[in-house]
């Protein structure tokens, strides 16, 4: 299987793999056995398969873990067991220059692949905003919404084949390389993308890469208010041309940064665009969008600002230190509902006496990935824990306007009911239970939420708990930070 140098039962190793981005309180262990019993580091698919078979024979739950840069508990055990740390499977295996397909192990970090592929003269146009930390396998398992989606589609649209270790310990390839673009049976590749590691463990990935573009340009436009910015986003989607990437941040995002002592523009919002392709084409597109956005009240900012905003695309939570804690919500929302969802979310945080900033990206012509985050003080645990209810409340707002969470994992699995109809929920559970009858790999996540005792938490109970926490949060005074926010916060006391 794996040697002792890649197997650990040590407390510290189990401790540091018992979490992801979510600041779960220590009390979380009452519901979930977050700490694995053992941590293993396979390097080859056969080792993963062997680990799965051994875990099966010992009746141990299995949790595959990539970069753990998500916040919904997908990479965290809920019932202890074996944690398979996939980050040692970090080799780039092969570049097929003729087909433009690169084969990588799932533990490769996106930034590393991007650097490597650039050196080979290619372009990796889609990657998560968390590319410096996220792994290939992890992002694909969460659906792959991020940078470059607007033009090139999500990771889902660019994965040609996956190698999977099934819950039985068997290994399969989802597509044959020769027909990976044109599967003639069920599209097995798609089945495993976005499955959040609940149907098997990804052990290699074939990704489409593209020729390096002749030109790459970024531009930023500021707006007097966010309503204008959302209006501009809608106009962008109505334009025939497609920028490579469209991102936005609101005024509060910059307020947080200013409170940190960083320089940030005093604007009502900012939309950032990136273009790539032949030089003449890029120039043409720039002209088109200059016109489109100025007619939507946008003002083109300096090149220096645009380059800075682009460089910061992976650093949207710089201001966490202001509160010491930051929690991010993620939802996909129809573009024509973005402004109203934003408005209602701001009303929600006002009622909950919190402060919130929003950033996001256009993922296609009709959908915006809306990523609000609030700052909290993790050291004040009652306030901090009760604030977590915001995420559920925000997703309820998103859902009421046709939106959905970006993922479910462990903590948001109950949202499945509000996202999909009963028949779909049943089919999804049927697929999970058929592929993994004993719920071995990431059991009790994604399609149902199960505690360490094997007891499920239904949507009613979950909603009741979240409502109670939200109520607790409203009893406390409004959130404040050690440093005041220059110019105050809308609706706040700073």
């Amino acid at each position: 299987m794996v040697g002792p140098e890649r197997f650990s039962e040590e407390y510290i190793e189990r401790l540091v793999t018992s979490h992801d981005l979510a600041p779960l309180p220590k009390l979380g262990v009452l519901a979930f056995k977050l700490m694995p019993d053992v941590v293993v580091h396979p390097k080859e698919p056969e080792e993963v398969a062997e680990i799965v078979r051994v875990a099966n024979s010992w009746d141990l739950p299995i949790t595959p873990r990539g970069g753990a840069s998500w916040g919904f508990g997908g990479a965290v055990p809920n019932k202890g067991g074996v944690l398979i740390d996939m980050t040692s499977m970090n080799r780039i295996l092969h570049l097929d220059e003729e087909k433009g397909i690169v084969r990588v192990q799932p533990g490769v970090v996106w930034n590393m692949l991007d650097e490597w592929i650039q050196r080979k003269g290619y372009f990796l146009p889609y990657y998560p905003s968390s590319a410096p930390g996220a792994t290939i396998g992890g992002w694909i398992s969460t659906g792959g919404v991020g940078i470059g989606n607007y033009k090139y589609g999500a990771a889902r649209d660019n994965v040609r084949s996956l190698q999977i270790v099934l819950p039985s310990g068997g290994i399969l390839d989802t597509a044959h390389l020769a027909d990976s673009r044109h599967p003639s049976q069920f599209d097995l590749t798609s089945l495993f993308i976005g499955a959040e590691g609940s149907l098997g463990i990804v052990t290699s990935v074939d990704l489409q890469v593209y020729p390096k573009p002749e030109e790459f340009r970024v531009v930023s436009y500021s707006f007097p208010d966010m309503d204008s910015a959302y209006g501009a986003l809608t106009r962008i989607t109505e334009t025939k041309e497609k920028p490579y990437h469209v991102g936005f941040v609101d005024d509060n995002y910059f307020r947080f940064l200013r409170a940190m002592g960083r320089e940030a523009p005093e604007v009502g919002g900012m939309v950032n665009l990136a273009f790539e392709g032949p030089k003449a084409r890029v120039e043409e597109e720039l002209k088109v969008f200059d016109g489109v956005i100025s007619s939507a009240n946008g003002k083109r900012e300096s090149e220096e600002t645009a380059l800075h905003e682009w460089a910061e695309r992976s650093y949207e939570l710089r201001s966490k230190k202001l509160g010491t804690g930051a929690v991010i919500g993620e939802a996909l929302i129809p573009i024509d509902r973005a402004a109203v969802v934003a408005r209602e979310t701001i009303e929600l945080v006002s009622r909950m006496k919190m402060n919130l900033a929003v950033n996001g990206i256009l993922v296609d012509r009709s959908t915006v990935a809306f990523l609000p985050f609030y700052l909290t003080d993790e050291r004040r645990w009652i306030k901090s824990v009760s604030s977590l209810s915001f995420i559920k409340k925000f997703l309820d707002i998103a859902n009421s306007y046709g939106g959905r969470p970006v993922g479910l994992g462990l903590f948001m699995a109950n949202n499945l009911h509000s996202m999909r109809d009963n028949n779909t929920v049943e089919l999804l559970r049927y697929i999970k239970d058929t592929v993994d009858p004993k719920g071995r790999i990431n059991g009790g996540k994604t399609v149902r939420m199960v505690t360490r005792y094997g007891i499920g938490i239904g949507p009613g109970l979950f909603r009741f708990g979240m409502d109670a926490l939200a109520l607790v949060k409203r009893i406390f005074p409004r959130d404040k930070y050690d440093r005041s926010i220059p110019g105050g916060f809308p609706g706040g006391e700073h």
């Binding site: 220590k26 840069s69 740390d85 050196r119 966490k320 230190k321 050291r379």
Partner: protein
Amino acid sequence: MITIPEERELYACLQCGYCRAVCPVYVETGWESNNPRGKLFALKQLASRGPMDVILRRKVKLDEAFKMRLYQCTSCGACDEVCHVNIELSHLWEELKEWMLEQGYEPLEAHKKIRERVERVKNPYDEPIDKRSAWLEDKSVLSDNPEVIFFAGCTTDFRVGIIGTALVKVLKAADVKFNLLGPDEWCCGSPLIRTGQTGLVKTDLAPHNTNEIERRGVRAVITACAGCFNTIKNDYPKIVGEPTYELYHLTEFLEKLIKDKRLKLEKEFKKRVTYHDPCHLGRHAKVFDAPRNVIKSVPGIDLIEMPHNREMALCCGAGGGYKSAFNYSAESIAAKRVEEAEEVDAELIITSCPFCQVNLNAGAKKIGSKIKTIDIVQVLEQVI
């Protein structure tokens, strides 16, 4: 409850894991507890007490395992460069090591030995004090009225004397009057500061070295060692105040000599070379251009950058007391850097730190690579 230094930094960590991919020890070992994110999470969990801890009166318990992880660090500072929330991680690791020792934990055995040796013979190599500057056979080159003092550093003095002899040739060619501190030079204290043992540096080493330099009345000091340079530049002012002299790293001084036309590089050096940024010179002291400018001044040389360079240069694996405690792993880290030089078809690695030089050569040997690492001044001595 234990009060942790820089508690705010601990809580500020987002756990994004951007530091994972750039941490040389993590890349080498693969264990989450070895990377900055893991260490911060472990400390936060070990040191914070939830309501159940309060009810059950559980005490905070740090342990040897955590201490070991804290020392599994090369002090390279790559984590500082990528930190999402701008935590000054290098500084934090040093504070935490010092704090753990204050809590009664012992340093690692190898590091304890270093402190004992420095206490006894003023160098970490356990060499006799009077062997300092033994690499310089002809003492007549030393000036009584020097323009600069060459702070040789323990590694040059006791392990890589060829850097000293090369520098002497270059200084002579440029007609620079210089002297050494000789037996009056003590360890700068870098290995002690990086391993949390700062006491001796504060009470003895920094004041002594500063006095010895200043009583000679020179206006400039040069160091060939990136570790000495970083320590004297960034740590000494916090201990002994601002210096009365100007501190140059060797590469900065050479750049100045070339610019002022005092040093003429006449012969050709026809090799394809790459430059390895020492962490303590580059990331910590922000000296990136001087060494490159010096290399580019050499006739015939072909300088090619490795994929990771300047702020994002890979670490050689030797720093922060890592080589002394975990030599095998340190050499494996060095081997990865040598492989990068091979990837760009370099014939030679040039660096500007004797400690990097020693470890990169050890790394090359480990993987059977023919690429040698030499100091920048060893190139210059061949072209004057």
